[in-house]
Point group: C2
Chain length 184, copies 2
C-alpha cells in the first residue's frame, strides 16, 4: 500500500510538471506583432508585464523543484534508505512537506497576481482611465488565458501532494501525546 | 498537552481574526477626495477596483469562518464530545482541515491579486500607457498598503492553523497501513 501511495505521488508530480512547463512555455513564447499606424508596429511579449515575468520564473522553479522530488523518490525507493523509523526519513519528510507548501503558495499567488493583471488588460479600468489591451492583441491574450488554466490545474495538483506530504510526516506522531513520535 | 495545542490554536485564531478584520476595515473605510480641476473633485474608494472589493469580501468571510471555528472549540471542549476515537471527531477534523486550507488559499490569492492591482496604481505601466494613480491619492494608497501587510500576516497565521488542523487529523492514521485509523 505504501508503494501505491508513492506511485500516485510520482504520477501526480509528473502531471504537475507537465502543466507547470506548459504554463511557463505558453507565457514565455507568446508574442504578437500588431501594426498600429502605417509602418509603426508594436510587439507584445511577456516582458511587457512584470507579473507575467514572475509567473514564468515561479512556474519554472516549481517544475524544477518537482523534478528534484521525483529524483528523490527514485533514490529513496532503495530498501536501505526507506526505513520508516529512521530520523533521516522524518527530516526529509518534514523538509518535503514545508517545501511543497511554499511551492504551492508561490505558484498559486504568482498565477493569481498575473490573472489580476490580465483582467486589467482585458477590461481596462474606467475609474483609472486605463484602456483595454486585449482588443488589440487578442491571440496573445487567449494564449495567456490557456497558460493561466494550466497554472491553476498545476496549483491544485500541488495542493494534493502537499496533503500527501503532510500525511506522510504527521501520521508518524502519536495520537495521544503531543509531537511525540510513535513507538517512543 | 492536548489543552496546550488547543490554547495555541485559539490564540492564533483570535490574532488572525483581528488582522483579517483590520484588513477588511482598512480597505472598506479608505476614502480620499481630491480636487482635480477647480470645482471638479474625484473621490477614491475601494469600489473603484474589483480586486479591492473581492479582498473585503474574502477577508470578512475568512474572519467569520474563524469565529465559527472558535465557537466550535468552546463546544468541543465539553468532555462528552471530545472523545478522540469517535468518528464524529474524525469528520469534524477533516472538514476543519479542508476548510482551513481553502480559506488560506483564498485569502492569500485575494491579497496577492489586489497587491498586483496596487502595483499598477503605484507605478502605472509604460508598455500599456496606464498612468499612475497613487501620486494623486497618496494617503489612500498608503492605507491600502497597511491593509495588505495585515492581510499577509493573517494569511501566514492561517497557514499555521491549517498545519495544526492537518496534524490533528493525520496523526490519527496508522504509520504502517495506508489510510487505516490507529487501533483498528
Amino acid at each position: 500500500m505504501e508503494l501505491g501511495i508513492a506511485k500516485w505521488e510520482v504520477c501526480l508530480r509528473v502531471i504537475a510538471i507537465l502543466f507547470l512547463v506548459s504554463t511557463a512555455c505558453l507565457v514565455a513564447f507568446d508574442t504578437q506583432t500588431k501594426v498600429i499606424f502605417l509602418t509603426y508596429s508594436k510587439k507584445a511579449t511577456y516582458k511587457d508585464l512584470d507579473a507575467l515575468k514572475i509567473l514564468v520564473y515561479v512556474t519554472s522553479t516549481a517544475a524544477g523543484y518537482n523534478l528534484l522530488q521525483l529524483c528523490k523518490h527514485t533514490f529513496s525507493a532503495l530498501p536501505s534508505i526507506s526505513n520508516f523509523k529512521s530520523s533521516y526519513y522524518m527530516y526529509i519528510a518534514w523538509i518535503t512537506f514545508l517545501l511543497d507548501q511554499i511551492t504551492v503558495y508561490l505558484t498559486f499567488t504568482a498565477n493569481s497576481a498575473a490573472f489580476q493583471a490580465a483582467i486589467f488588460a482585458l477590461n481596462g479600468s474606467e475609474a483609472f482611465q486605463w484602456m483595454k489591451i486585449c482588443n488589440k492583441f487578442t491571440r496573445f491574450c487567449e494564449q495567456i488565458g490557456v497558460a493561466f488554466l494550466c497554472g491553476y490545474i498545476a496549483s491544485l495538483l500541488m495542493a494534493v501532494f502537499s496533503t500527501i506530504s503532510a500525511y506522510k510526516v504527521l501520521r508518524m506522531y502519536s495520537s495521544k501525546r503531543f509531537m511525540r513520535l510513535k513507538g517512543k
